[in-house]
């Protein structure tokens, strides 16, 4: 059993023990750390923009670099949360609750270090969970047919749509629009072009990278540029203490934080495996659990170091475990996993259960690369923390043009030249609309990525079921997932109706009180 776990891992380490591969992984972590520290930028943006660069690398180096970015960015986002009270990514918002008060007390160094240690422990343990869980799950997935695959894909998309945004209906609309955009191009069975408007560039479908760059990076830059003065004011307020005792993590700190770190890791792993929940849910759950279980809950929100540890360990544990459905089933559970699919495909690898059969050596090397990235996270974080703290002082008038420049390069290289830039701009405007109107672009992108698989398995399922839904009884796994999809929609719809009713009662109460003169 232990051999079955470690022997492939040892082979993976042997295959990546090469200077350039290790350098690319470390480069990915450093880039991710930097990007994560800057508010508004994140792992999705950085991976989408850098995919064209990885086109020329070996598969393991390329995907290792991108995974390094994801890991580094998640850890880096704590820096701005602690120093500026502005999380680099939404998932670090809970870190700011105690990190920022610690920084105000002059203990920014201590908070940053504990955030880093918690991130590394959460990330490493979650990577080990991925290694332990993905292969058995893939073995199960190999034994299921298209009907079951369709049901699982449908359930995943509904789950993501229901939970990624604030509204079930808007989430489902976003997912449906993603599926619709995925139908552009030649239809798989008949080779009939769909929605191509006689443009050759669309015959292979809409390329993912310009869509992802437009929706995530360019739209975010548009909104950040509109708000640049406020962001620059926050940057100008950063203070860092020079007293060494404020920068050390003591034994007492460790005793307080270790239980929170292990609890946070467990929550992060569980939340990461479920598609669509995301790191924000994990970090808030972990922070809340730690505050509730504390003997001194009144310290939370005023600079409790274990609050930082709880939030950061859960946040970072989500990233590796969110690759479990991607590696084992080919289902992207997050935006980063959706973007990684295109990197896998560029390098001739199809994520999913067959990857463990056809590209077993690459999977082992990827596992090893992920463990190396965890240690690189620690080394680069410790050495470069001052540098990253300096980077986030860069004003938006310097950051935004640089990001736009990289976005253009990424879309040009991956989207077929100027056509890719046109697509990027179109989806950037749609991204702004989606963000402001609260339609989840995460669900849109995941719908877009799983669209072809969903359609293919649906097409295969219809003849297999003999065009009779009653035949679903012969596919119990599929029947369970279809049932779960219906139950999920019903539960979320009821919850939404209750929430709206509560909101309307709240808005009515003050008026009635005012009318009776009883309002104090």
């Amino acid at each position: 059993m232990i051999d079955a776990f470690f022997a492939p891992l040892a082979a993976g380490f042997a295959s990546i023990a090469e200077f350039w591969t290790l350098l690319y992984i470390c480069f990915g972590v450093a880039v991710g750390y930097t990007v994560g520290a800057i508010p508004g930028l994140g792992k999705g943006t950085a991976t989408a923009v850098l995919i064209p660069v990885t086109f020329y690398l070996e598969p393991v180096a390329a995907i290792g670099l991108l995974i390094g970015i994801a890991k580094g960015s998640t850890a880096g986002s704590a820096i701005s949360a602690i120093l500026m009270n502005t999380p680099g990514e939404p998932s670090s918002a809970a870190t700011a609750f105690d990190g920022y008060p610690l920084a105000q007390q002059g203990k920014a160094g201590k908070a940053l270090k504990m955030g880093l240690y918690a991130s590394v422990i959460g990330d490493l343990l979650s990577t080990l969970c991925l290694i332990a869980l993905a292969a058995p799950l893939a073995q199960f997935a190999l034994e299921i047919g298209p009907v079951e695959q369709f049901a699982i894909l449908l359930f995943s998309l509904t789950f993501i749509g229901a939970l990624a945004g604030k509204s079930l209906v808007k989430g489902l609309i976003a997912g449906t629009l993603g599926l619709l955009v995925a139908t552009v191009g030649m239809e798989i069975e008949t080779a009939v072009p769909r929605f191509t408007f006689d443009r050759l560039e669309l015959f292979d479908g809409v390329p993912l990278i310009p869509v992802a760059i437009g929706m995530m990076a360019v739209s975010e830059m548009m909104l950040q540029m509109a708000n640049h003065r406020a962001l620059d004011r926050q940057v100008a307020e950063i203070r860092i203490s020079s007293r060494p005792e404020d920068s050390r993590v003591t034994g007492a700190d460790w005793r307080r934080c270790l239980p929170a770190i292990f609890r946070g890791t467990g929550i992060g792993v569980f939340v990461g495996i479920l598609p669509g929940l995301g790191a924000s849910v994990a970090s808030f759950m972990s922070y809340g659990a730690t505050a509730r279980m504390s003997k001194t809950p009144e310290r939370f929100g005023k600079g409790a170091i274990e609050g930082v540890a709880a939030s950061e360990s859960a946040d970072n544990a989500v990233v590796p475990s969110s690759f479990v459905p991607l590696f084992a089933l080919g289902i992207p559970g997050s935006v980063i996993a959706a973007i990684l699919i295109s990197a896998f495909v560029i390098h001739g690898i199809t994520p999913g259960p067959m990857m463990f059969v056809e590209d077993a050596e690459i999977v082992q090397s990827l596992y090893a690369a992920m463990i190396v990235a965890s240690f690189a996270l620690l080394g680069i974080g410790l050495v470069g923390q001052s540098f990253f703290a300096w980077v986030i002082r860069s004003p938006m008038r310097v950051i935004a043009p640089a990001v736009l420049f990289f976005c253009v390069i990424g879309s040009f290289m991956q989207g077929g030249g100027l056509f890719g830039i046109g697509l990027m701009v179109l989806f950037a405007v749609l991204g702004v609309l989606a963000k402001k109107l609260d339609f989840s672009f995460v669900t849109f992108l995941i719908g877009f990525v799983i669209g072809p698989s969903l359609e293919l398995t649906l097409r295969q399922s219809i003849p297999l079921l003999d065009r009779d839904i009653a035949n679903l009884a012969q596919h119990p796994v599929a029947a369970v997932f279809i049932g779960l999809t219906i139950v999920l929609i019903a539960i979320m719809a009821l919850a939404e109706i209750r929430r709206r009713n509560r909101a309307s009662r709240r808005s009515e109460t003050p008026l009635s009180l005012k009318a009776t003169g009883r309002n104090t």
Binding site: V169, L180, M225, H228, F405, V408, K436, F439, R500
Partner: protein, 149 residues
């Protein structure tokens, strides 16, 4: 926000209906010999879209009737200006690319937003474009052996 939800519901409803009635018949051939029509998936999406947008419209109408809409505009003026500005910037850069090659549009994409956002330091206005464009040239032209043509 509720008014915005109502408007987006109406727009999506119109899109779903036009998708079913106009876009699919126009852009997807019927392929009568196929076991399953290539129109199946787009039609499914259109149907789901129509149903969901109707639900969104009903929800927002009900909320508007109960609570009214006291929230401010969804988009601030600065956000509209920034969005249109970036779209305009890319349009200019595309024209420059077609007529002059990659150098001038690269410069425009970096320098114009810097100036608009208030950067006036000559050193920064010179070094940032030089560093970014030099780095891109080194990476893509020299190391990776490709080009932006």
């Amino acid at each position: 926000m509720k008014k915005a939800e109502l408007v987006s519901g109406l727009v999506l409803l119109a899109f779903g209906i036009s998708l079913w009635a106009v876009l699919i018949p126009w852009q997807v051939a019927a392929a009568p010999g196929a076991i399953i029509s290539p129109r199946m998936m787009p039609r499914l999406c259109a149907a789901v879209l129509v149903v969901l947008s109707l639900v969104l419209i009903v929800q927002s109408l009900a909320a508007l009737r109960r609570e009214g809409d006291t929230s401010g505009p969804v988009f601030s003026r600065a956000e509209v200006v920034a969005t249109l500005g970036v779209v305009g910037l890319f349009a200019v850069a595309t024209l420059l690319f077609v007529y002059t090659g990659p150098l001038l549009p690269g410069l425009a994409i970096i320098v114009l937003p810097m100036l608009v956002l208030g950067e006036r330091r000559i050193a920064m206005l010179t070094l940032l474009p030089a560093g970014l464009m030099g780095g891109a040239w080194l990476l893509f032209y020299v190391v990776l052996g490709t080009s932006f043509q």
